[in-house]
C-alpha cells in the first residue's frame, strides 16, 4: 500500500489562530480503499485539519496534496464532506436540496435524479423526497446530509462524527454504506472522538491531542505493539487482589465481567496465581488486546 500515491498527504502542516495553535506540524498519509481515523478529544484539531483538506482554510505552513497534486478548487469536486456542524435549508424540499448540493459539485442532469432516488431508497427516506427539511427528524436529516456528501461519487469521503445522534439501526446502515465505498476503492477519512466507533471501522488511525499528533499507523499494528497486557475476567471474590496496584493499573467493571490493564512488570500468570491463592472463583480469564481508548489514555498520559 505505502508504495502507491496517498490520496491525502499532509506534510508538516501548521495552522494557528492568533496565539492559539490548532494544528502543529501534522503529517498524514491516507490511502485509497482504506478508512483513515482522525481521532482525538474535542479541540484536538480534527476539524481544522479537515477544513484544510477540503480547501476551506489554508495552512499557515506545510503542504497538502490531494491525489498527488497540490489542492485546487477543482479538486473539491472529488471530495465529499460531511461536517460535524451540519444543517439543511429548512424550507427547501429534500429532493431539491440534494440536487442543489450535487450541482455545486458539478453533477447534473438525469443522472442526478437517478442517484437521488437510489440513495433515498437506500436510506429508506424515499417518501420524504418532496417534504421540507423542517419536517424531518434529526436522524433523518443526518441521513440526508450523508447522501449529499456521497451523491457525486467522490473519491475522497470525509466524515466528521457521522454517527453522532443516530440510533443503532441507522448507525449500522451508514456503516454498511461506508464499508461498501471503501471496498469500491474510495478513500475515507473518519473523524471521531468515540474510540469504540473508530476501533470497529478504521484501518489506519492518527491520534491527535492539543494540536499534536500523538500516535499514528495501522490500527492492527498499533494494537499489537501495545501487546496483550489486558485481561478480561469473570470472578467471584479476590477483590483485595484486584485492588493491588502492583498488579493492576486500571480496572473497568462491565455488566458481566471486569477488564484489567496489568501494571507494568506484572504478568497475567501472577494475577491468576494470586486470585487462586485468595480462593476466588474464576469462571473466565482471557488475555485481550488493549482497547483503543486504553491506548489513547495511556499515550495522552505519557505526554501530559
Amino acid at each position: 500500500m505505502s508504495t502507491s500515491i496517498p490520496t491525502v498527504r499532509l506534510n508538516r502542516v501548521t495552522k494557528r489562530f492568533g496565539e492559539f495553535s490548532a494544528v502543529s506540524e501534522l503529517s498524514i498519509d491516507a490511502y485509497a480503499g482504506r478508512v483513515y481515523g482522525l481521532l482525538g478529544p474535542n479541540g484536538a484539531g480534527k476539524t481544522t485539519t479537515i477544513r484544510m483538506i477540503v480547501n476551506i482554510t489554508r495552512p499557515d505552513s506545510g503542504q497538502i496534496e490531494l491525489f498527488g497534486r497540490e489542492i485546487t478548487a477543482e479538486l473539491q469536486d472529488r471530495i465529499g464532506y460531511l461536517p460535524e456542524e451540519r444543517g439543511l435549508y429548512k424550507k427547501m424540499k429534500i429532493g431539491e436540496q440534494i440536487k442543489f448540493f450535487a450541482e455545486l459539485k458539478n453533477v447534473k442532469g438525469v443522472e442526478v435524479d437517478r442517484r437521488i432516488d437510489f440513495w433515498l431508497a437506500r436510506v429508506k427516506l424515499s417518501e420524504w423526497k418532496k417534504k421540507r427539511a423542517s419536517e424531518l427528524s434529526k436522524g433523518m436529516q443526518q441521513k440526508i446530509q450523508f447522501i449529499t456528501a456521497i451523491l457525486h461519487d467522490p473519491d475522497l469521503l470525509i466524515l466528521d462524527e457521522p454517527f453522532s445522534g443516530l440510533d443503532p439501526i441507522n448507525v449500522e446502515l451508514l456503516k454498511e454504506i461506508i464499508l461498501e465505498l471503501k471496498a469500491a476503492g474510495k478513500t475515507i477519512i473518519f473523524s471521531t472522538h468515540q474510540m469504540e466507533v473508530a476501533e470497529k471501522i478504521c484501518d489506519d488511525i492518527c491520534l491527535l491531542n492539543r494540536s499534536l499528533k500523538v500516535l499514528d499507523g495501522r490500527l492492527r499494528e498499533i494494537k499489537e505493539s501495545f501487546g496483550r497486557n489486558s485481561v478480561a475476567l469473570r470472578v467471584e471474590g479476590g477483590d483485595a487482589v484486584l485492588r493491588d496496584t502492583a498488579l493492576v493499573s486500571k480496572l473497568e467493571r462491565h455488566s458481566d465481567q471486569v477488564e484489567i490493564l496489568l501494571a507494568p512488570g506484572a504478568s497475567a500468570q501472577d494475577l491468576l496465581r494470586r486470585l487462586v491463592a485468595a480462593r476466588a472463583t474464576v469462571s473466565k480469564f482471557e488475555m485481550i488486546e488493549p482497547s483503543l481508548n486504553d491506548i489513547f489514555i495511556q499515550k495522552i498520559g505519557e505526554v501530559a
Partner: protein, 450 residues
C-alpha cells in the same frame, strides 16, 4: 462559472416559486398605494361631529353674511380652500367632487347668533364660556363693531389646534366682510365675482418631447419611483441578510464552502436575489405600463381623467440601473453583516444603521424633487449610498446632463466593487465562526488575514 450559475439558479428558483413572493408581487402595488394613501386619509379625518359655534356680532349686521359664507351658500370658487390650483374644463367630474368635499366641510359647522341683549361683551363671553364648559357649544366667534374697518375677529374655542377649521372660519369671515364692504360701496358682488375670476396656473413640463402638461402626477410618479426603489432595496437587503444568517446558523456554509469559493457563493446569492427583485419590478412596471396605456383611457371614458406623464424608455433603463446599483451596494453590506452575527436578532440590530442610511437617501428625494438643479441635489446624487434614489429622482424630474448620470453610476459601481471585495473577505471567515458575534477589530483582522 458553472457553480456560480448553479447558485444563482437555485437562489432564484427557490424564491420565485415561493408563495410569499407571488402574493407580494400581486399585492405589492396595492400595499404601496395603501401606504401612500392611508396617511393622507387619516390626516383628513374629522373625527368629531359638527362644530357648534356661536357668533357674537357686535357690528349688528354681519351675522347673516358670515353664516351664508360659512354655510357655503354663496360659495365663491376663488375663495374655496382649494388644494387644486389648476382647473381644467375637461375634468369637471373631479372638480365637482372637490367642491362637494369643501361644502361638506363648511357644512360641518352649526352656527348660532349669540344675542347680547344689552349685556356687555364680557358678560356675553362669560356666558358663552360657561356654555363651552357645559359642552353646549364648541367655540364662539367675536366680530368687533369695527370689523369692517379692519379690526380683527376673535375665536374662542375648546381647542384651537385645528388649522383647517381656523382657515375655514377665516375664509368665511373675510368673504362676508368683503361682500359687505362691496355692498356698502354700491358694487354688485356678482359683478365683482365675475370680474375677479382667478387665473388658473397650468404647469407644463418642458422636455425633449416639447411642452407637456403636468398636473401633479409628475410629482407622484417621481415620488413613487423613489419609494419603490427604497422599499425594494430594503426588502431584498433583508432577504440577503436572512439568507446569509440561515446558512451560517444551520452550518450549511461549511458544506457550501467545501464545494464553492466563498466569493462565488456570495455573489451568486446577491445576483440570484437581484433577479428575483427584477422579476418583481418587471411585473410592476408592466402593470404600470398596461395601466397607463389602457387603464387611463378607460378611466377617462368614465369621466375620471388621469394624466400620466410620459416616461421616455431611457428612464426605464436608468430605473433598472440605479435600482441594481442601490441593491448591490446595500445587499453587499447586508451580506457582510449577516456573516459576522450569529442570530437573526443580532443581524436586525446591526442592520439598523444601514436602514437609516437608506432612509436618509429616501428623504433626501424631497428637497431634490423641489430643486433638482441645486448643488445639494448634485452632491447627494453623487454619494453612492444616496445616489440610487436621488439620481433617479433627478432623472425623472429634470434630467441632468449625461456626464452626471454616468459619473454617479461610475462612483456607485466602484463602491460596489470595493464593498464586494471587503465583504467577501470578512464573509469567508465570518461564516465559519460560530458561537459569538465578531467585533469590529476582529472583522478588521479577518480582512487583513485573508
Amino acid at each position: 462559472m458553472r457553480k456560480l450559475y448553479a447558485v444563482v439558479k437555485w437562489e432564484y428558483l427557490q424564491r420565485v416559486r415561493a408563495k410569499l413572493f407571488i402574493v407580494a408581487t400581486l399585492l405589492g402595488p396595492f400595499v404601496m398605494s395603501f401606504f401612500a394613501v392611508v396617511p393622507a386619509l387619516i390626516f383628513s379625518i374629522d373625527a368629531g361631529g359638527p362644530d357648534r359655534i356661536a357668533v357674537v356680532d357686535q357690528t349688528g349686521r354681519m351675522y347673516r353674511r358670515v353664516e351664508a359664507a360659512l354655510a357655503g351658500a354663496e360659495t365663491d370658487e376663488d375663495e374655496l380652500p382649494s388644494d387644486e390650483p389648476e382647473r381644467d374644463a375637461a375634468v369637471t367630474k373631479s372638480d365637482d367632487r372637490s367642491n362637494q368635499l369643501a361644502r361638506s366641510q363648511t357644512g360641518n359647522l352649526v352656527l348660532e347668533e349669540a344675542v347680547s341683549a344689552g349685556r356687555s361683551l364680557d358678560e356675553v363671553k362669560r356666558d358663552l364660556n360657561q356654555r363651552i364648559s357645559r359642552h353646549e357649544i364648541d367655540g364662539y366667534l367675536v366680530l368687533p363693531a369695527d370689523l369692517l374697518e379692519g379690526a380683527r375677529a376673535q375665536f374662542f374655542g375648546r381647542h384651537t389646534g385645528d388649522l383647517f377649521k381656523k382657515r375655514r372660519l377665516e375664509d368665511g369671515v373675510s368673504r362676508a366682510v368683503r361682500e359687505e364692504r362691496l355692498a356698502h360701496a354700491n358694487i354688485d358682488a356678482n359683478v365683482v365675482k365675475e370680474l375677479s375670476r382667478p387665473v388658473d396656473l397650468l404647469s407644463y413640463r418642458v422636455g425633449e418631447r416639447g411642452e407637456e402638461r403636468d398636473r401633479g402626477e409628475g410629482f407622484i410618479l417621481v415620488f413613487a419611483c423613489g419609494f419603490v426603489i427604497y422599499l425594494t432595496i430594503l426588502i431584498y437587503g433583508q432577504v440577503i441578510l436572512g439568507a446569509v444568517i440561515e446558512e451560517k446558523e444551520t452550518r450549511i456554509a461549511e458544506i457550501l464552502f467545501s464545494s464553492v469559493k466563498p466569493f462565488t457563493l456570495m455573489s451568486g446569492k446577491l445576483i440570484g436575489v437581484s433577479l428575483v427583485a427584477l422579476t418583481q419590478l418587471c411585473v410592476w412596471v408592466l402593470t404600470f405600463l398596461g395601466f397607463s396605456l389602457f387603464g387611463v383611457g378607460m378611466l377617462a371614458s368614465r369621466g375620471f381623467a388621469l394624466n400620466l406623464p410620459h416616461l421616455q424608455p431611457l428612464v426605464y433603463v436608468y430605473f433598472v440601473l440605479f435600482f441594481l446599483l442601490g441593491y448591490f451596494i446595500y445587499s453587499t453590506i447586508y451580506a457582510l453583516v449577516g456573516s459576522i452575527v450569529t442570530t437573526a436578532q443580532e443581524g436586525g440590530q446591526l442592520a439598523l444603521p444601514i436602514i437609516l442610511l437608506l432612509a436618509i437617501g429616501f428623504y433626501l428625494a424631497f428637497p431634490v424633487i423641489r430643486s433638482p438643479d441645486s448643488s445639494l441635489a448634485f452632491w447627494v446624487s453623487m454619494f453612492p449610498f444616496f445616489s440610487p434614489i436621488t439620481m433617479l429622482v433627478r432623472i425623472v424630474t429634470q434630467t441632468p446632463p449625461f456626464w452626471q448620470i454616468a459619473l454617479s453610476l461610475l462612483i456607485g459601481f466602484g463602491t460596489v466593487v470595493l464593498l464586494a471585495w471587503l465583504a467577501s473577505r470578512i464573509y469567508r471567515v465570518g461564516m465559519l465562526m460560530y458561537g459569538k458575534r465578531a467585533t469590529i477589530p476582529e472583522a478588521w483582522r479577518w480582512l487583513r488575514q485573508s
